[in-house]
């Protein structure tokens, strides 16, 4: 190739490099770091920091030892730094590589990474926002979960959450009905806030007792408290569990009355048999229980003596010798017919 052709080609290359408006390109001697060539963009960008780049050491932040070591071991040296251009610092990423081994030349390419850094920052910000939103959502979900667990048992809630509905369950189970004696007159006479406070305390204690004996509080209706054992999860000793819970209710209320200004007295009816448990309602739904034992327990509760537990004899017989049967009698139960019933009393105190 003639010298003239070479010269022409060289000029084309220089023009091409100078036309690059997004990257700085610098070629320097590897040993002395003297600059052999820099395109216009490089000169323009670097002028803010140094008057003219004649040597790579003019660029602040260059670690010469690391440069030499990194080029040797990794083939490149990368440096992120900022150049004050006019007023604002402009972030640049400088990449040094060996251009040719024979000539011992270094190639420095660099680019303005303002946009990249801004994008990274924005992504970080949004990730944080998202995290915050997720935390808010989680908190909200936990709150509604807690509310829902108040109106349905955990197993039903899981089914309902997964499938959007929960199938009714029919188990052999036991039911407890509790009601306060003379509640209507209490509610008329006493300060409402105080009375509700008492009731909250008692119901909270009952909830704990139920939990202890593996029973499930179904609901409170006014001053009534309804709990089951063996539903929705079947339990072989459901009669025993519910009888123990009932006994603890009585024990708790007796103890409470001993040193309380206002006395509360209760009646309890228990019964067992096939019981259906299901979520009922579309908009205002609630888990509820149905079946003959539910009605029977309610009737037995209403004819129970004060602070006593009334059960069918058949129910009591299944409890073994843990409880005593008092006052065995036959009663005509509305809607059910004649039922042998008795009053239940624990031989020994059962406390949770």
């Amino acid at each position: 190739m003639s010298d003239a052709r070479l010269e022409e080609r060289f000029e084309h290359f220089v023009k091409a490099f100078n036309a690059i408006r997004t990257h700085g390109i610098v070629i320097a001697q590897a040993d002395t770091l003297d600059v052999k060539f820099a395109n216009e963009w490089a000169m323009h960008r670097l002028r803010g920091a140094v008057n003219a780049i004649t040597n790579l050491t003019d660029i602040e932040d260059i670690d010469q030892e690391k440069l030499a070591a990194d080029i040797e071991s990794k083939g490149k040296y990368v440096l992120e730094t900022e150049f004050r251009f006019v007023k604002r610092p402009i972030p640049l990423r400088l990449t040094f590589t060996r251009l040719t081994r024979q000539d011992d030349l270094l190639l420095l390419e660099f680019a303005d990474i303002t946009k990249e850094k801004r994008m990274n920052f924005a992504l970080d910000t949004y990730a944080r926002d998202l995290e915050q939103q997720n935390a808010d959502l989680r908190r909200e979900r936990d709150r509604s979960e807690k509310l829902l667990l108040n109106i349905m048992p955990p197993t039903i809630y899981e089914e309902w959450k997964e499938h959007g509905l929960a199938m009714p369950v029919k188990n052999d189970a036991s039911v407890l009905m509790m009601d306060f004696v003379g509640f209507s007159s209490i509610s008329l006479e006493r300060d409402p806030a105080e009375m509700i406070g008492d009731m909250n305390d008692i119901f909270a204690a009952f909830d704990k007792i139920c939990e202890h004996f593996g029973c499930e509080r179904i609901k409170t209706l006014g001053d009534s408290y309804i709990a089951v054992s063996g539903l929705p999860v079947p339990q072989p000793n459901h009669e025993q569990s519910i009888a123990r819970a009932a006994n603890s209710f009585v024990h708790y209320i007796t103890k409470r009355n001993a040193d309380a200004e206002h006395k509360w007295n209760l009646r309890i009816g228990l019964a067992s048999g096939p019981i259906i448990g299901s979520i009922v309602g579309i908009q205002k739904f609630v888990f509820d229980v149905f079946g003959m034992p539910v009605n029977l327990a309610a009737r037995l509760e209403s004819i129970s003596e004060e602070d006593q537990i009334t059960v069918p004899v058949e129910f009591a017989e299944r409890l073994g010798d843990e409880f005593l049967r008092h006052d065995i009698r036959t009663e005509e139960i509305k809607g059910i017919g004649e039922v042998d019933i008795c009053t239940l009393q624990a031989k020994t105190k059962t406390t949770p």
Binding site: K87, R88, T114, K115, R118, M119, F121, A122, Y126
Partner: protein
């Protein structure tokens, strides 16, 4: 109905437009003085959220925040006009067409009293 946010390429595109927009703002001596001490990364991130929300995308920019952010900066009507002009110019360059541009211009205009 597809949102302007989706139509113009989502988060990355809007962020890129906002980045360009602020380069323009900084190159313009009139509004540039207001940004001397500003954290540009944060500003671009915020503005991306703001414009995203204007375009029907995610993010929000409550009026109270807008007002608080511009309070005490003594921004005049002329400054507001110039920056709004630069924004619309950037959006035009990014390929936003007449009708869509009018929608943005209108929303931006409605925020004037929060900023000036």
């Amino acid at each position: 109905m597809t949102t302007l946010f989706k139509k113009y390429g989502g988060f990355a595109a809007v962020h890129d437009i906002m980045s360009t927009f602020y380069d323009k703002v900084l190159d313009d001596p009139q509004p540039a003085v207001f940004f001397d001490d500003a954290d540009m990364e944060q500003l671009v991130a915020h503005q991306t959220k703001f414009v995203s929300s204007l375009m029907g995308g995610p993010g929000e920019a409550p009026d109270t925040t807008l007002r608080a952010a511009h309070q005490g900066l003594a921004i005049g009507d002329a400054d507001f006009d110039r920056v709004a002009e630069l924004l619309l110019e950037t959006l035009t360059e990014a390929g936003m067409s007449g009708g869509d541009l009018d929608i943005i211009a209108e929303v931006v205009g409605s925020k004037r009293e929060l900023i000036v």
